[in-house]
């Protein structure tokens, strides 16, 4: 084979198409999306034989305005902010603007957590890993000692920022923001239905019921204590993030993730955070709640959105999983003004040659 033919073959191989989905910036079904968001499958990137960074660079070149690039390994697992383990995880995130990723602050990989018995003892919500997802990679936040920005788990390029390990995007100039819950992003990746709405006061309080994680997606080095509120904002907590557009999973999907965690022995307030959604599922289905480990500050914020300490402490007759799931829209508090859309109605199918 001649050198010219060899080169031609290499070019043929290098011209592979990487598919991704794009949620475009602007008005989408009545919500303002602050930056375009690309959803990419890590295994597609591996199949193309390129690095995650190169894939992000190629996608960034197709987005002229502010954008975020979120890449997922659907075979990995991660944790929600309240410690509920979720199948699927981000593998990297990038912020881009004007077609490029800031070389210093625009990209980071997220860290695969080593399976370590000591770590699991110290962070007991990680017991879900071996019980529900044995053998799967656990990926949480970026390496806390080697991340591009000093405070948050964020990346920034030009106007665009994606924060909290790819669950919160914002336009730094217009100052618009949007939350993308992991559970919702997984449904986008799977091409299923998305709950498209506003965060509301329950979500604003709920996202503050954090667990401490050494390699946390939100904050590293176990800065939060399970049972307490990370917000510590009292009556102001419900207003912190209550008016943002958000992308969520249908309530039934969220409930199923929580039920799986509770079946694995997770106790709200002790192992997983006492978010309104977690407490509601546990309460109706009769799972134990560590009422005494939930702090007065957390009860204050919860009570402000209708989860009263007295209700949490008062025994009630449990209902079955089937009944709870049948009544999930009525029972599970969460997003406001939500409408279900197929992911394909919100996102565009795109591809880029790599």
């Amino acid at each position: 084979m001649t050198a010219a033919r060899l080169l031609e073959n290499i070019e043929e191989v290098s011209e592979m198409k990487l598919n991704y989905k794009l949620l475009p910036e602007g008005d989408v079904k009545g919500s303002k999306v602050p930056v375009s968001i690309a959803f990419v499958d890590y295994h597609d990137v591996v199949a193309c034989g390129i690095t995650m960074k190169r894939a992000c660079d190629a996608i960034a070149a197709q987005i002229s305005g502010p954008g975020a690039i979120h890449m997922f390994d659907m075979d990995a697992v991660t944790t929600n902010s309240d410690g509920i383990m979720i199948p699927g995880s981000m593998t990297c995130m990038a912020a881009c603007d004007y077609g490029r990723i800031d070389p210093e602050f625009g990209f980071t990989e997220l860290m695969e957590v080593p399976h370590d018995e000591q770590l699991i003892r110290e962070e007991p919500h990680l017991r879900q890993w071996d019980i529900n997802f044995p053998g799967h990679r656990l990926i949480l936040g970026p390496d806390p000692d080697n991340k591009p920005l000093p405070v948050h788990n964020a990346v920034i390029s030009g106007r665009s920022c994606t924060n909290n390990s790819a669950t919160e995007v914002m336009n730094c100039v217009t100052m618009d923001e949007m939350l993308l819950f992991i559970t919702g992003q997984m449904e986008v990746m799977k091409g299923k239905d998305i709950l498209w709405g506003k965060t509301g006061e329950v979500i604003s309080v709920g996202i503050g019921m954090l667990v401490g994680e050494e390699y946390g997606r939100i904050v590293p080095h176990r800065q939060y204590i399970c049972g307490d509120t990370g917000h510590k904002s009292g009556v102001y907590a419900k207003y912190l993030k209550n008016k943002l557009p958000c992308l969520a999973a249908p309530k039934r999907v969220l409930a199923e993730h929580i039920i799986l965690a509770l079946k694995a022995g997770m106790i709200p307030g002790r192992h997983v955070g006492p978010s309104p959604a977690v407490l509601t599922v546990a309460k109706y289905m009769g799972y134990e709640i560590d009422c005494d480990n939930i702090t007065p500050g957390a009860y204050l914020e919860l009570g402000d959105v209708g989860i009263q300490e007295e209700w949490v402490r008062t025994p009630m007759a449990p209902i079955s999983e089937e009944e709870f799931l049948a009544r999930v829209e009525e029972l599970l508090p969460g997003t406001e003004h939500g409408t279900l859309y197929p992911a394909s109605e919100l996102t565009e199918a795109r591809s880029v040659e790599v």
Partner: protein, 126 residues
């Protein structure tokens, strides 16, 4: 150590003067320091900036210069002082806390610029 850092008003004036050094009326606007009441500015870097401003003031077609100063790392962590003041402005009590601020990245200030000569050292090697 007087020479190691330049007084803020001097810094601003020195940059403006550098644009005039070749006898042309090149206005030079300094943006991004409006919030600083008092500060000392790295002297060695001040000299480099003066030299660069002088250099750019001679660019063919130049009518004015704009100097924008923004955080090198686009997320900054700030101390917040919440102070109680009483009669005659006398402090009674203060609470200290922090707040993180995310800033637009540098590309926001380069839009449409056909030539960018990035002379910044890497973060940590300043």
């Amino acid at each position: 150590m007087f020479m190691m850092h330049t007084k803020l008003p001097s810094f601003i004036q020195q940059l403006k003067n550098a644009a005039l050094r070749h006898g042309k009326e090149v206005p030079c606007e300094i943006k991004g320091l409006e919030n600083l009441e008092t500060a000392k500015v790295q002297s060695a870097r001040t000299g480099r900036l003066e030299r660069e401003i002088e250099e750019l003031s001679q660019t063919p077609g130049v009518l004015r210069l704009e100097v924008r100063i923004l955080p090198r790392v686009p997320e900054t962590l700030h101390t917040v002082v919440i102070k109680v003041l009483g009669e005659d402005g006398k402090p009674i009590k203060a609470v200290l806390d922090t707040v993180g601020i995310i800033h637009p990245g540098v590309d926001c200030y380069l839009e449409g610029c056909p030539e960018v000569d990035d002379r910044r050292p890497p973060v940590g090697k300043h």
